[in-house]
Amino acid sequence: MGLWRDIKGTLQPFWITLGYLFTKPVTIQYPEEKLTPPPRYRARIVLTRNPDGSERCVACQLCSAACPVDCISMQAAEDSDGRRYATWFRINFARCIFCGLCAEACPTMAIQTTPDYEICNRDVLKLVQEKEDLLIDGCGKDAEYNYYEHSGVGVVNERGGNDDEYGPVDPKALMP
């Protein structure tokens, strides 16, 4: 009946809000309690190292090219053994939109996003971070990975010398 439905619809909300009044709020009181975001959260960007402690970054510029706001820049150089590295590496976090495209583009898993979201600063120049600020001592999310043990030309192993690789293909042998 219409009237009964109306009375029920008027009284029921009161019961529900009374229940919520005695429920613990879901708010996280930020400066006192801090949320630990999930591991794949996209916040501060870091440069990771190989398991053997060497830098992963090979200064291929792919992250810089993928970045939609152009906040990554670097200078590439080459070691005496032919291994590439970045002489300087700079991320402008004032520009960064934390889209994570750089981490997706990186072939050596060097550049990674972390759950560290507390990078606010009143001085905008402190948000421009150099290689020594970005480089961390760990391997980040891929602890086992070392690019040069799976690929790469003649730096650690010979071309095609890694376990999961095969040697150069002879195109003339690829007849239909």
């Binding site: 809000t17 009374l18 919520y20 009044l21 709020p25 879901v26 708010t27 009181q29």
Partner: protein, 331 residues
């Protein structure tokens, strides 16, 4: 002469106490409303300034005072400046007739715990609640803004319509107390609060007084998501603050009126009468805050339909039934 002077001083002391208590209660009702609404929505509400947010009202006042007092272009300036004061004033004046405790005997003198025990106190309250419409309507009219005007028109129609059912709901109370004086009405409820002997009148009263004071299920005049802020759209700074404080003083007035007319005023076991009175007022205030957390806003035509076609006939019927019962009991 000496006697007159003492009476005058007593009245001034009572006025000062009432102003102090009502204004600080209004300030903390704002905080209480924000906190209770917050908890009902699974938030904490303001809790940063001072322990548990207790200094928040002070900060709000400082913010409002230091803001620019803006008058819109082509507004009716003097009416615009005057209207918020009228709202707060009419709300404050209502406390003159509210008795909050039985008469106190001090140094062989009987002191009535009410500023002015008018024998037509109820009519005085109605007069003031009709005057309160002016503050809203003049403020809305003088702002020279379409939202303010719509809000003002809505509040005019709504407050006038619901005043009828409000008055009719109180007729049974007056009939059983046989007096218009608020003190007499409270005295008549020594055994039974009117809420139990006049349940229908109580329900009609609660509904119409929510509409009369523009509290949430009936807050069409200031419906934020339809007409920005209604009649106080163009107000800023402390003038907006006056409207705001007026609304919360009104909430206390509602609490006091409900307590006096239906909840038995200061009557109650064990505790001193003043504590019972304030407790009941705060309980009614909590009921209205609770309703704000629970109820959606009806459409404007539904509001008018409900007022004229449901509440007023019901209230009239209630008057007739109460009269018949009273006649049967006496005869």
């Amino acid at each position: 002469m000496n006697d007159l002077l003492i009476s005058l001083i007593l009245i001034l002391v009572k006025l000062g106490m009432i102003f102090g208590v009502v204004l600080s209660m209004a300030a903390y009702l704002v905080l209480a409303e924000r906190k209770i609404l917050g908890r009902m929505q699974l938030r904490y509400g303001p809790n940063r300034v001072g322990p548990g947010g207790m200094i928040q009202p002070l900060c709000d006042v400082i913010k409002l005072i230091t803001k620019e007092d803006f008058v819109p272009d082509r507004a009716d300036k003097w009416v615009f400046l005057f209207a918020p004061g009228l709202t707060a004033l009419t709300a404050l004046l209502s406390f003159a007739v509210v008795p909050f405790s039985p008469p106190l005997t001090l140094f062989g003198r009987e002191i009535p715990m009410v500023v002015c025990d008018l024998n037509i106190g109820l009519l005085y309250l109605f007069g003031l609640s009709s005057l309160a419409v002016y503050g809203v309507v003049l403020g809305g009219w003088a702002s020279n803004s379409k939202y303010s005007l719509i809000g003002a028109i809505r509040s005019l129609a709504q407050m006038l319509s619901y005043e009828l059912s409000l008055g009719l709901a109180l007729v049974p109370v007056v009939m059983s107390a046989k007096s218009f004086s608020l003190t007499e009405i409270v005295m008549s409820q020594a055994d039974w609060p009117n809420m139990l002997s006049h349940p229908l009148a109580f329900l009609i009263f609660m509904t119409s007084i929510a509409a009369e004071s523009k509290r949430t299920p009936f807050d069409m005049p200031e419906a934020e998501n339809e007409i920005v802020g209604g009649f106080h759209t163009e107000y800023s700074g402390m003038r907006f603050g006056l409207f705001f404080v007026g609304e919360y003083i009104n909430l206390i007035v509602i609490g006091a009126m409900t307590t006096v007319f239906f909840l038995g005023g200061w009557h109650g076991p064990f505790l001193p009468p003043v504590v019972w009175f304030i407790g009941k007022v705060l309980f009614v205030a909590f009921l209205f805050i609770w309703a704000r957390g629970s109820m959606p806003r009806p459409r404007y035509d539904q509001l008018m339909h409900f007022g004229w076609k449901v509440l007023i006939p019901l209230a009239l019927l209630n008057v007739v039934i109460t009269g018949a019962v009273l006649v049967a009991m006496n005869g």
